[in-house]
Amino acid sequence: MNKTGTVAISASDLTKIYGERAALSHGSFVVPSGSVCGFVGPNGSGKTTTIRMLLGLITPSGGSATVLGESIKHPEKYLPRVGAMIEGPAFYPALSGRENLKVLAELGGFPLSRVDELLAKVDLADRGGSKFKTYSLGMKQRLGIAAALLPNPELLILDEPTNGLDPSGIQEVRRIIKDLANGGTTVFVSSHILSELEMICEYLVMLREGKVIFSGRTQELLSAQKPMIIARPEYEVDLTKLTNTLSEAGYQITIVDGALQIAAAKEASAEINRLAFDSGITLSSISIVLPTLEETFFEMTGDNK
C-alpha cells in the first residue's frame, strides 16, 4: 500500500463472461493511490475488458470494483476525475487534433484553454490544426494521451500508450507518467514493452487467460524469481572446461556471449568461484542478476514465443 494507504482501484472477483468464454474470471487486485501500476498479460488475457469495466463501458457479469472509492456501477461519480486512453486513440478523422480535443473538453466541461496547453505538452502544438486523418500513428497516440490528460486526472488509465511511438516518443511518455506520478496521480498502464513497465511501475497486475496471476509490488515479484549467476572466465578458451566442471558439480548452465549463465541461488557464487579456482581458471567477473520483468512474465505466462 502507498503512503496514504488508500486505493485508487480495487477489484474483487470481477468477472466478465461472453457466451461460454470468461474474458476475466474472478479478478481481484488493488492499485494503491499515487502509484504507477503496470497491467500486463498476453493478447486476449482480458486487460482491455478489465479496463472497459473499470470505465463503465462494459457491465461485469459478476464481482465488484471501485475506482477512486466509488463503485463501478456509478461511473458518473468518478469518471470526471479519470483520464483514459483505451485500445489506441479513436478520434474523428475529418476534425483537426485541436477540434477533437475541444469536442471532448466541451463534453466533459473542461476549460478549452487546456487544449492548447495539452497539445504543447504532447508536442503537437504545430500540428494541432491538421486533420486527425493526416496524423502518423505516433501523433495519433500522442493526441490520445493529451485527451486522457484533459480532466487533470486523479487516475490515469492508459492502454498501450507507447504503441507506434519512436524511442524519443516512448521516453516522453515515460517522462509524462513519472511527472504525473510525482504530482500524486495514480497511473494504471498496460503495455507490451515490459522493460518500460519495469522502469516506471512500482506495482504490477498480471493477467493470464482471464485470471489475475500476480498483483503486488514489482520488486516483490522479481525478487521471488530464481536469480542467475553470470560467471565470465578471464580467457574464453576456458569456457568449455569451466562448463564441464560446473556441470559435474550439478549446476544448470547456459553459455551466452562468452559467459556462463548459471541458474542458482546467490549463495552458490562462492562455491562457483572456488570450483573455477580449483580447476585453474580465473574468473574476470562473477555477478548475480535477477530476471527481468520480461523473463519473469514469460515464465509466469508460459508465453515465450
Partner: protein
Amino acid sequence: MIRVVIAELRKLRRPSLLLGTIATVGGLSALFTSIVFLMIDSEDGNTKRGESIGPKELSEAIGLVYGFKLVGVFLGVVALCIFASQTAQEYSLGTLRNLLVRQPSRMKILAGKFIAMKLFALVMVLFAGALSIAISFALAGRAKVDTTEWGTSAAMHILFESALNIFLATLCFGTFGMILGLLFRSPISAIAVGVLWNLILENILAALINSTRKWLPGINFANLGEGGYPDLTYKHSIAVSLSYLIIGGAIAAILFKKRDVAN
C-alpha cells in the same frame, strides 16, 4: 446535456459535412424549384409524377412554396443519411468510448446528439426554403407567374406552415436514420437500409398492395411534409409516424443504454 449539444454541434459544423450538406440541399432545392418554373410549358409536366402546374396556380399564394414542398422529401432523405452516419460512426470509429468516458450518462449523450442534429436539420430546411423562394421569385417573370399573391399574409401563413411540416417530416426521416444507426452501428449499413427502404421498397410495396400505403413509415413521413391529402390525412400520418418513432426510438435507446461498448 447542453455540453453534449455544443460538442455535437462542433462535429456537425465541420467544413466537409456542413459545406457538403449545403451543396446537396442547395442543389436539390435549386433543381426542383427550377424545374417547376422552367418546364412550365413542357408536355412532360413540371412537377411530380409528370403532372403539370401552370402559371395560374403558381400565381396563387401557394405558388411561393411549391418548389420548396417538392424538395421536402429529399431533405428527409438527406437528414436520414446524416443522422444515421453521425450516430453509427461513433461505433465504427470507436469514438463512443471517448464520449462515454467524458459523459457517462448514455441518455444525455443520445438526447444531446438528437437535439444537435435537430438544429442542423432546421438550418438545412431553412436554407433550402430560402433558396427555393429566392429562385421562385427570380424565375417567376420568365414563367409568366404573377407574384402579387406571394407577399400576402395568406402566403406567409402557407410558408410558415409548409416550413414547419417539412421540418417535421425531415425530423421523422432523421430520427428513423438515427434509430437505424443505433441498431446497425455501421454508417454504410444504416444509410443503405434507410434509403433502400424509403425510396424503393416502400414504393414497390405500396404499388403491389395499395392498402399498405397508409401504414408505411416513409410514406407517412413524406405525407407530413406535404401537409396531408384527403386519402391519407395529416392526422393519420402524425399518429403512424409517432408510433413508429416512439417504438423504434425506445428499442434503440434501451439497446444504446444497455449494450456493452466493446469496440
